[in-house]
Subunit: 261 residues, 2 copies
């Protein structure tokens, strides 16, 4: 079915989920089955999911970038989050999931349907690794959404873009799609603007500053983060921590005394 010449050459999903939680060989093969499946293709700018609409079977992105988007009446647009290869579209732990935001293809895309994933989630016993990985993927998603709120609410342009770049790089590298800080970057600056809540012009100027400072290189659809340390610091980016921190916070009795009103 042409998705890979040798079996397991790409393994986008296995790569990603196995990193979140160790998968059994059988669980891996479920993912390979999904990824090997016939692809749906979508043009750039097509709507993959409509807000307030019942979600059908979840899909995974194999190729291309998409975004959860919300529009305001006068044409302003805010990107809630970017969806990258390996990410799910329309996957929710909720039972009767409505999509709460529209999903828009930002580039031409290929996706695969993954109906079995919905079931896998609840079957902890049969596919414990997969179930745990899906849990952690959901946690990651929430984590990045919190990051988006903090960026938009409390970081000025430069920090905001630096942080956002670092998030993208982190997520792509987890899927083997980033080479020491360099990766394909198919978005126009106007789209970046809608993601980070700035005007396209200001995005442009901020990018140039980053270039002048030798921190990034951005041309011909490719972004290189030349000085990730500096960008991480500037944007105060912290990768998600999804396992419990063991340094127990010492004081957990003082604040909440149980009483009965």
């Amino acid at each position: 079915m042409a998705s890979a010449r040798h079996p397991g050459v790409t393994d986008l999903l296995v790569n990603r989920f196995n990193r979140l939680a160790p998968l059994s060989e059988q669980e891996c093969s479920v993912l390979r089955l999904i990824e090997g499946r016939a692809k749906h293709t979508h043009q750039a700018d097509s709507l993959l999911l409509t807000a307030r609409t019942e979600i059908r079977a979840p899909h995974f992105i194999v190729t291309g970038w998409a975004a959860r988007v919300q529009k305001l009446k006068d044409g302003r647009r805010q990107i809630i989050g970017i969806l990258l290869p390996g990410d799910a579209i329309g996957l929710s732990l909720r039972k009767s999931p409505l999509s709460l935001a529209s999903v828009l293809a930002l580039t031409p895309m290929r996706t695969v349907s993954a109906p079995e994933i919905t079931a896998a989630w609840s079957e902890r016993d049969r596919v414990p690794g997969l179930s745990a990985a899906l849990d952690l993927a959901a946690a990651e998603e929430e984590f990045f959404m919190i990051g988006q709120v903090v960026r938009l609410g409390r970081q000025p342009a430069y920090e905001r873009i630096a942080n956002w770049f670092m998030e993208l790089e982190y997520r792509l590298s987890c899927r083997g799609l980033s080479n020491s800080g360099a990766f394909p970057f198919p978005l126009k600056q106007e789209t970046v603007a809608d993601a980070v809540g700035l005007s396209n012009v200001h995005v442009n100027r901020t990018l140039q500053q980053m270039r002048r400072e030798g921190r990034i290189e951005l041309a011909r659809g490719r972004l290189s983060l030349l000085d990730r340390e500096a960008l991480r610091n500037a944007g105060e980016f912290n990768p998600p921590v999804l396992s419990a921190s063991h340094s127990a916070p010492a004081d957990h009795r003082a604040a909440d005394a149980a009483t009965s009103d």
Copy 2:
């Protein structure tokens, strides 16, 4: 136990969840049991939950306001979302839930522990209404988080605050805590600023403009939205829609033709 003189006088939780999905009498009594339980009290400014920490039993807020909060190194602070009476603290559909943001008491609070809720979620058969209501509550939470992103990313100060006020009023009114647009408002302007991503001074000025225009009244810990229609328009606030829209979007074959690469 003092929580209600006649049984069912307050019924904060029943009120809220029954509005999300119809509950059986038995399900209601589970909620009443929870709400009638001994209260934990917390001082203002105490930390109810620490980021990156294992979540214990979920709690419900009976009294007081809290916030999910994230701090930056230099002291800047962003409020991710406000938690009101009837909201859950540390409730997640995920299996091994880490808290992803800290939860801070903004006022003195009373909460009740609700360990049975975690189980109820998965037992669709035993407590279908409750399970559905929890699902919808989670959807609502995500909906408001999307709203937060849009506000911060694409709305100027006045719209931002108008929209935020409308959200608060909506949520409180669902719980019977708002009287035709008027409700207790225990936050200082600095906290408002951290919620809407502005400086306290600018919040102050925007509030005054709203007062001058006769759209709000805010004094002595009480906020009245005097012209909700105007505020709703200014902030482009839309209440959550959690049931599928029936106007099927007509075109769902054009965009995605299935091919096989």
